[in-house]
Structure formats: structure tokens, C-alpha cells
Symmetry: C2
Subunit: 280 residues, 2 copies
């Protein structure tokens, strides 16, 4: 299994407010989601991860606009992961945050998109921010529903292009996109997910939570056993969780907020950088 | 008056199909809009123009996603036109093509957007591709309606930040965005406009038509008297129009299709390039 971090050629440095915000809600705090000052933070966090089993074909987790433009324009990046040329372009969405979905519009001129997402995310992108109906007039989108919804907190799925990988989607508590109407945010699960990936050949495991989510004990169980952990810098988890028994050889903080802290990461974590390659 | 061409750091080269298309519909053909093979052409043409009266404040004409990302990320471009820092960010939309509006989402974290557009464009961006309701949850958008609609083919307007410039919007026949429902495309005027700009101090005139539009005799009258003409490489006009009596000192072809022709432009035209500065 391989993972590549994509932040786009022009990942924007966060405005000064991000410093205060990152300090307030570091990975070690347990501030409840409802109290997070999300509105004051920059919403561009560029949490795009490219995943592959053998390196021949790739799926992207989320699609920021600047990463989409980079993928199409930069021949090096283009050749590197060979994603734009694929007959079907596979994308997994972990939520419907604008930063994670706006880049879909920039992909309109290519081959069809194979989109993997929960019912809540498909609904958001069909009604409140209907990029999917728009894309039907361009490249077309094939829906692959990840059945995390209602009482179902966890679901396995496969991506056709990556036959050696097994995916598990885990419902997480994340900030809901502010553009959603209140009645759209009331479903029990599925507005945001974390993704656990297992390589069937090597047995290696990756845990990926690109949104600023609050992880519970179920997700922590998966994270604890992962060989690589990719989480947003604003992820939170219960305060009684010790990291001593985590198996991960690599723990990477996604997002750009860390740069405002002079590049310093919490102990044991690396800060993601554009083009960072993770071999598992 | 100043104009700067912005194509983004990563203007994508067109796929091979663009060559045939550009050849079929060069500025000298008069192919009716309805017969244009628009669907087969790449829809990323990056026709963003920055306009200013004194160079202190700027308004942008359209907003491609890659240009929006560049504006926010590239300190040089950022300082160059000082647009992102403005208390209000002024944008004029000439139509609702995805390439001209998708970048609005990337601007969500800044100051409010002052948006100048026709009723047809505001409707498209409120209903079929509702980026405006979404942006209300982020930076906010102030609507400035350009009253080209119904039987009204022409309207003057001002942009508060550019008090020395007078703007005239002219209805043009352009391809309607494919994502619009049929009933939304039936209004008589306003789906696409060209913009004529006059500097009240110097008297200099600029004519700007960034969409692949078919110009009629009214627009040609304006274009003929302009000191600078900025048009898309796929613009068409009546075959009996001679360019001999055009006043323009500079005639610039916007869009990237020309690159597929080895950079060659029709006689008398320059091909736009990223960062090209036009002083009038």
C-alpha cells in the first residue's frame, strides 16, 4: 500500500487566526465539537490523500480545488500518480465540506468519476451544493454508496481499481458543513467518516481521518492497530487515551494549520507536506 | 486604466481536441452558435481579467478555480493586484459557465464579495449551481445586479471601488451553461455579456468579451471604437466586418486554445499570457 499527500502547488498559508485556533484545539484537547470556534478558522485545509495498492492505480480521498487544478496541470504530479489518465477516476469523500468537494468541479473535462461517499454526503452534493447534477453534464459521476447512515456506524467497501485493499468507513463526529439546512444535519451517522484501509497482501493497515473530527473509542480501536495514522491537526479524542500502545510506525498530521506553529508537531507526529510518500 | 490577464499558475494545456475545435471556429468564421461543437471542447479557458482605474483597487472579470487559488496563495500575485486584501472583493461575471464561477467557492474565507452580474446569472448561481447561498455561510456576497434582461440588451453600471471607470454591459449570444434546465435558458438576454469600460479621466476604452460568444453589430460598434480589445479565441462576428477601421492599439485573444496552434495568433492579435499587463 502506498499513500501520497497532495496539498496542491499553492497550499495557502493560514491567516493569523489559525494560530490561536490551532492552539485552542490541538490534538490533545477534548473540546466538544459544539464548542469549537470553527467559523473563525480558515476552511482550506487541503486534506487530500492519494491511495494505491500496487502503485499502478490510485484513489483520492477528498478533492480540494487547488489539488484538482494541480493534478490536471502539473505534468510531474500527473505522471506521478497517473490518476487523471485513468479510465475511471476514483474519489472517496469523507464529508461534504467545501474544501473537500469544490475540486470536483475542476475535474469536469475528464473521464467519469467513480465517487464513494455516504448517503448524507451524496444528498448534500445533490441538493444544497449540487455539484453532482452539474457534473452529469460534463464528465459524469458513478455513485458508489458507502452505507454509513442512520444507526449504521461502520461499513466495509471496495474500490474496483484497488483490488488489493479493503476499506472500512467509520462514522465520526465532525463539524457539519455550514451550508446545510438544519434538517439535513439530523441524520444519526454519515456526515463525516474516517477510513481504515487494510492491504490484503501485506496485512498493513492505514487509518485516515482528514476532517477535524472528534474520534470515539470505536475509531480509536482502529487507529491503535494501524501501521500508519493520517489525521487532521484538529482531530480530538478522549483525554484518557494514551498513545503508548499505538502500533503506528508513522503518524502524520494533515492540514496546514501546523505551519502557523513554526512547523512544530506534537510529539511522535510528522507534519504532512506536499508530495509526502508513505510506503506500507 | 490597467488590465492584467490572470490564467493561474497552472493553466492546463488543452487536450488535442481543442486544436480541431479552434480551427473549426476561429475568430474569422461565422458558425452559428447552435452549430458549434461546444460539448467536445475543453471547458477550462481561464478567461480572468483584472481591471483597475488607478492601480490602487481592482475588480476581477470572472473567477476560474485555479486563478482563485493562485490569487490567495501566490504572494507575488497577491501583492501585485492587492485584490484579496481589499475590504470588499469586486467580481464581474460575464456568464455562469463553470469555468467562470467555480473559483468563487475558493474565495470563501475572505472579506465579502461584491458581485456584479445579470439576473440570469444570479438565478443560475442561486438555483442550478447555488454557490451564492453556500457563500452566504462563509464570506457573504453583496449582489449588484446588472440590468441586462428581457428586452434590455445594454446597461451601464459602476463599481464602487473603481470610481474613475464607467462600465457598459452588452448582451451577447454565447453558449448557455449545459447544467441549466431548458426553461432557465429562455430569457431573451443576460445569459452572457460583453463589457465595455471607459476611463473617465483618460477617455481610453476597453472592450472585453471573455466567453466564446457570437458578437452582433451593436457589440461590434463598441469594439471598433475601443483602444484595447480582449476577446476569447472562439469569438465570432459577422463575416462582412473588416478590422481595418478598428481603433484598438492592442487586440488580445484570451483563453488557452491558441497554444494548441503553436502560439500563433490571427493577424493583428496577441495571445494572452499569464500576468500580461495592459496599460491604457
Amino acid at each position: 500500500m502506498k499513500a501520497v499527500i497532495l496539498q496542491g502547488s499553492s497550499a495557502a498559508p493560514p491567516p493569523p487566526v489559525a494560530l490561536a485556533y490551532a492552539t485552542r484545539a490541538s490534538p490533545h484537547t477534548t473540546l466538544p465539537t459544539s464548542q469549537r470556534p470553527r467559523d473563525t478558522a480558515p476552511t482550506s485545509r487541503h486534506g487530500v490523500v492519494a491511495l494505491s495498492d500496487t502503485g499502478a492505480q490510485w484513489a483520492l480521498v477528498n478533492m480540494a480545488a487547488n489539488v484538482a487544478d494541480r493534478l490536471q496541470a502539473d505534468a510531474a504530479a500527473h505522471n506521478h500518480i497517473g490518476w487523471c489518465d485513468a479510465q475511471h477516476r476514483a474519489i472517496v469523500l469523507t464529508d461534504a465540506q467545501v474544501d473537500h468537494v469544490a475540486g470536483l468541479l475542476s475535474l469536469r473535462d475528464g473521464s467519469p468519476i467513480d465517487l464513494y461517499a455516504t448517503p448524507a454526503v451524496f444528498e448534500a452534493l445533490s441538493r444544497s451544493l449540487p455539484v453532482l447534477p452539474v457534473l452529469q453534464h460534463y464528465c459524469g459521476v458513478h455513485w458508489h454508496i458507502i452505507p454509513v447512515a442512520g444507526e449504521t456506524q461502520c461499513a466495509n467497501f471496495r474500490i474496483e481499481q484497488l483490488p488489493h485493499l479493503e476499506f472500512t468507513a467509520l462514522a465520526t463526529q465532525g463539524p457539519t458543513p455550514p451550508y446545510l439546512a438544519e434538517h439535513e444535519t439530523q441524520s444519526a451517522a454519515g456526515h463525516s467518516i474516517a477510513i481504515a484501509v487494510r492491504d490484503r497482501d501485506s496485512g498493513q493497515r492505514l487509518f485516515c481521518a482528514p476532517g477535524a473530527v472528534a474520534l470515539g473509542y470505536t475509531e480509536l480501536d482502529w487507529m491503535r492497530s494501524a501501521d500508519c495514522v493520517l489525521i487532521d491537526g484538529l482531530t480530538t479524542w478522549p483525554a484518557d487515551e494514551a498513545q503508548d500502545d499505538w502500533l503506528a510506525r508513522r503518524k502524520v498530521l494533515l492540514g496546514v494549520a501546523q505551519r502557523a506553529q513554526g512547523g512544530a508537531c506534537p510529539d511522535g507526529f510528522e507534519c504532512a507536506s506536499d508530495g509526502m510518500v508513505i510506503d506500507l
